[in-house]
Amino acid sequence: MDKLLSLLEENSRLTNAQLATMLNTTEDAVAKQIQEYEQAGIIKGFTAIIDREKIDKEYVVAIIELSVTPKQNYGFEEIAKTVAEYEEVESVYLMSGTYDLAVIVNGKTFKDIALFVAKRLSTLESVVSTATHFLLSKYKEKGFIIAGDEEDERRVIS
């Protein structure tokens, strides 16, 4: 991957001036490149990685495996888009293997999510079956260690 993208992926708050210094180029070139990446849909947005468990005591995430019957002419696209419409749904992926769609859902309680699956997802016409897996602990997300930051074991000065 382009070094500019990997720097931004790690820390999107770096200024164009800082990025230009680090990449040995000009601020204008950085700004132009970022704009191009945005226009091409390569950069989708600039966001913060938040450890929700630290602010919301009641916060549950589940990964739901959906097996679906693809519609003629539309394939999996229609059902995937329908599922993606729900506010509770964080991500939807089409998968290879034993099931079709992986759906990541956020809710306040286990019951919330169970009800969402029962009432909203399993009732959809093309859904054949669902399997819900609740996330128990997060260790790493988007390249960041979430559970217990790794300590720098080096001596302060050496």
């Binding site: 070094k3 790690e10 800082q18 680090m22 990449l23 001596r155 302060v156 000065i157």
Partner: protein, 389 residues
Amino acid sequence: MDYNKVLSDKVKSIKPSGIRKFFDIASEMDNVISLGVGEPDFKTPYSIRQEAIETLSKGRTKYSANAGLLELREEIARFLDRKYNIKYDAKKGILVTVGGSEAIDLAIRALVNIGDEVLIPEPSFVCYTPMVELAHGVPVPIRTKEENHFRLTKQELLESITDKTKAIILPYPNNPTGGIMKKEHLEEIAEVLREKDIIVISDEIYSELTYGQKHVSIASIDGMWERTIVINGFSKAYSMTGWRLGFCAGPIELISQMTKIHQFAIMCAPTTSQYAAVEALRNCDESINAMVAEYDVRRRLVVDSFNKLGLHCFEPEGAFYVFPSIKSTGMTSEEFCEKLLYSQRVAVVPGNAFGDSGEGFIRVSYSYSVKHLLEALRRIEIFIKENEK
């Protein structure tokens, strides 16, 4: 018991390291953000760790040959040839040591008679002077200059050589300055040394960490192979500091005598580390490239930041240190570092810890994440602005 009476006068006369003194203050304080380390922040590449685990599970934990596993020495010979175009006999010209430091110590002890002089370009790593003193030699510092990017010049060398000069330490890429010696600079030095019986102890531990160009070993310059002991190791290039593994390469006549000291003092370098090092040399060039690319990004950020703060900083082309001048603040190196530590809790190392010619400078390591560097730089900026008032 009067311990003072039983201890050797020589050992008692050795001054403690200037790094150590500052470490003692900094390690007592909370919330210190350090730019003081002399080791990589990356983990040892996974395949190297895996190789060590595997040999441990198989119980391959015996002594190796004194000079090191032959398999490893053969890989080292290939490494030195393909990277720096210098050729050594794996069986007799290479010795595997406990870190580069042991190799430096062996070289000095193998060469120095009482009163022999060893030239030491400064600023440089803290171990050379005490090691020469312990060998009853006379360390002769050569003050290198910022205007030359702390390279050793022909003139400085000529002015320091006497009838008693036995050896010269060549510490490039340099800790603490980040300065390097390019081929044309080495040629100048070689011109002087080719006609003399002076051995070069070339400490090339940072050789893989150069930016914009490849490292050149003085042993690859015409007429220098036979008067050079090349010191290198795994700590910096492969991020393997705690494994304690280094090596030296040179003419058989020198290496065999160094091996003699090594076999009595050490027996052999840790076997587990040696197996791991074979994997490093065979399969980890890509890891080095990735680490170098990452250091390079940080290097630019840090150099630029210090220059913008008005602390002039030449562009270092090696290692992972920058060496900004703090003369504009009117403080000494130690004052600057102490005040910065107490007021902003940022730890950097005073330049004079690496020799008198480091006075007026500080050593800043960029072996940290960009996030960590930005926070430290933010605090340093506050410190500089407060002291301008």
